[in-house]
């Protein structure tokens, strides 16, 4: 059994008027099933309101399923006794870096999670040091978070999660509020954690460039998973992605347009490198 298993998950937001009568029900997540293996890098893509953030909050027992079940490391999230274990196993990084940093000094913020878990003082310091080093923020440990850039703050948030020694990190649009430089920093840090520490990563995003390194991609729309597969498989479906109002990486789009014009380009080109190689082949074939 994988680290995370979701079966037939349905979640409904119920809006009530002032008297508490039900005004309307919005089904944010509609019959979703996932299986995520330990050590995988999984990306969940979707447009605004596709239910991807709601799904993410289920993996950390912040929201509970209306119907269906979520297991994290074999534990049912609806089991009250397991909530703290689950939150420690599946750490969560949110969108706005300012609203998730609690400490007034970087190192204190990273120590917050272990403090809550009751880790002995000496071990907290060890964990803080190794976590800050893992995201390359160790030299900023004495800084006030207010003096860091967005990308740096988000790396501190990630360090704060790593310090709890999770098996899995759920990142809910961690780059949505960052500039391109900050986005790059965060994604590099996340990939390094996946490669080096073998921490399972679940990255929720609507930036296509960030998912090309994933092992598996899920595309969500209106609460349902509409596409799933490797990045190459998903990005082969350019027309389908466009219908879902999702942008495709520029090289993929260019290759797709060329293919439609009759050039023998392969499906699902993901990087500039691949594109250049494919184009080279095209030209030599045409020449030969």
């Amino acid at each position: 059994m994988g680290i995370i298993k979701v079966r037939d998950l349905i979640y409904e937001y119920i809006r009530r008027d002032e008297e508490g009568n039900v005004e309307g029900i919005t089904t944010a997540v509609d019959d979703v099933s996932l299986d995520i293996r330990q050590g995988d890098f999984v990306a969940i893509l979707g447009h605004n309101g596709s239910g991807k953030s709601t799904l993410a909050k289920h993996l950390n027992a912040i929201l509970y399923p209306t119907e269906g079940t979520v297991w994290v490391d074999g534990k049912d999230t609806r089991d009250d006794a397991a909530v703290w274990d689950i939150r420690q196993t599946a750490g969560m990084v949110f969108q706005n870096p300012d609203n998730q940093i609690i400490g007034q000094v970087v190192e204190e913020d990273v120590g917050f999670g272990p403090e809550n878990m009751g880790v002995p003082t000496r071990e907290i310091w060890e964990r803080v040091e190794e976590s800050l080093k893992a995201v390359g923020m160790y030299q900023f440990r004495k800084f006030s978070p207010n003096k860091l850039s967005g990308g740096q703050k988000q790396r501190v948030s990630i360090a704060g999660v790593i310090a709890m020694h999770p098996k899995c990190i759920v990142l809910d649009e961690p780059t949505a509020m960052l500039d391109p430089k900050g986005r790059g920093e965060v994604i590099r840090a996340v990939r390094a954690l996946n490669d080096v520490e073998r921490i399972t990563i679940i990255l929720i995003t609507h930036y296509m460039e960030e998912v090309i390194y994933a092992d598996k991609v899920y595309v969500m729309d209106k609460g349902k998973v509409t596409l799933e597969g490797t990045p190459r498989e998903v990005f082969s479906e350019v027309e389908r992605l466009k219908e879902l109002r999702l942008d495709v990486p520029q090289v993929t789009l260019l290759a797709h347009e060329l293919r439609r014009e009759g050039f023998p380009m392969p499906k699902g080109v993901l990087t500039n490198q691949e594109f250049v190689e494919a184009l080279d082949r095209c030209i030599s074939e045409a020449g030969g």
Binding site: N60, I62, W84, R87, Q88, G91, M92, F94, N96, D98, N99, Q100, I101, I102, G103, Q104, V105, E107, E108, G111, F112, G113, P114, E115, N116, M117, G118, V119, P120, T121, I124, W125, V128, P145, N146, K147, G160, V161, M164
Partner: protein, 267 residues
């Protein structure tokens, strides 16, 4: 830049006073303030003055930083001095039209001025040598016995430190909203007081909404990191009394005894 504001007025240095446990500094400040009202006569004030000079020298904080804190109370200080000067009955010294300055009045005014200045400088020494963080930690640990009578000490300390963390963020946000409203021809400066107060509404409403949203996000982030109140929590930087803290306590007790003795025996 708004983000560079340091709260309180911490002066970064590495002195004995800086390294003392915040509980020692809090306790000493309270004792010092009490001592100012208990000590009597010139000798009592001399003792307090000497103690203050000693602490300031040890703290290595330049004296002008202490005086900075005084500026805010100049007004209060002058009113107290003037009232005491003219309204104390006793032996007249100077007669100005209908106002009389008495010998007792002068004495009382001078002593009060000294007392108030000592009070302000004394508490500045504490805030200048202790970070807001250490202060909340110190308060939390000192007030822990109140837990027994159901005072949520840990929660209060947590709220204080979160407030300290978010003040610069909310200030920056205020600045942003203000600029956005100014760009749309909002007028914050003209008109009488009521009009000015009314013009703050378009500033405060978005600020409050954003503060609530932030609070909601932060609460979720804290829960996601296993925060569940003060029980079963360990500390990354626990407070421990060191040798120097005990020495400090001894010095403070000596000061109290000397001061009281000086007031009683000599003065």
């Amino acid at each position: 830049m708004l983000r560079d504001i340091t709260l309180g007025q911490y002066y970064q240095a590495d002195s004995v006073i800086h390294r003392l446990d915040p509980r020692v500094k809090l306790g000493t400040t309270v004792l010092f303030i009490i001592s100012l009202f208990v000590f009597q006569g010139v000798w009592g004030y001399l003792a307090a003055g000497l103690f203050l000079v000693l602490v300031i020298r040890l703290s290595t904080v330049p004296f002008k930083f202490m005086v900075k804190g005084m500026r805010s109370i100049v007004f209060l200080l002058s009113i107290t001095v003037i009232f005491n000067l003219f309204l104390t009955p006793g032996e007249p010294v100077v007669q100005l039209w209908k106002l009389t300055i008495t010998r007792e009045g002068i004495e009382l005014a001078v002593l009060l001025a000294i007392r108030l200045s000592f009070l302000i400088i004394g508490s500045s020494v504490m805030t200048l040598t202790t970070t807001p963080n250490q202060l909340t930690d110190g308060l939390e640990k000192m007030l822990r016995p109140l837990n027994k009578i159901k005072v949520p000490v840990h929660e209060i300390a947590m709220m204080m430190s979160i407030a300290l963390r978010f003040i610069p963020i909310l200030m920056e946000e205020t600045d942003k909203i203000m600029k956005a409203q100014l760009a749309r021809c909002a007028d914050f400066d003209s008109g009488n007081l009521i009009k000015k107060a009314k013009s703050l509404v378009p500033l405060l409403v978005p600020l409050f909404i954003s503060a609530f949203r932030r609070a909601n996000d932060l609460a979720m982030a804290m829960e996601a990191r296993c925060y569940r109140g003060g029980d079963h929590r360990t500390k990354m930087k626990p407070l421990h009394y060191e040798k120097r803290d005990y020495i400090a306590y001894v010095v403070v007790v000596c000061y109290l005894v000397c001061g009281i003795a000086a007031g009683r025996l000599i003065g």
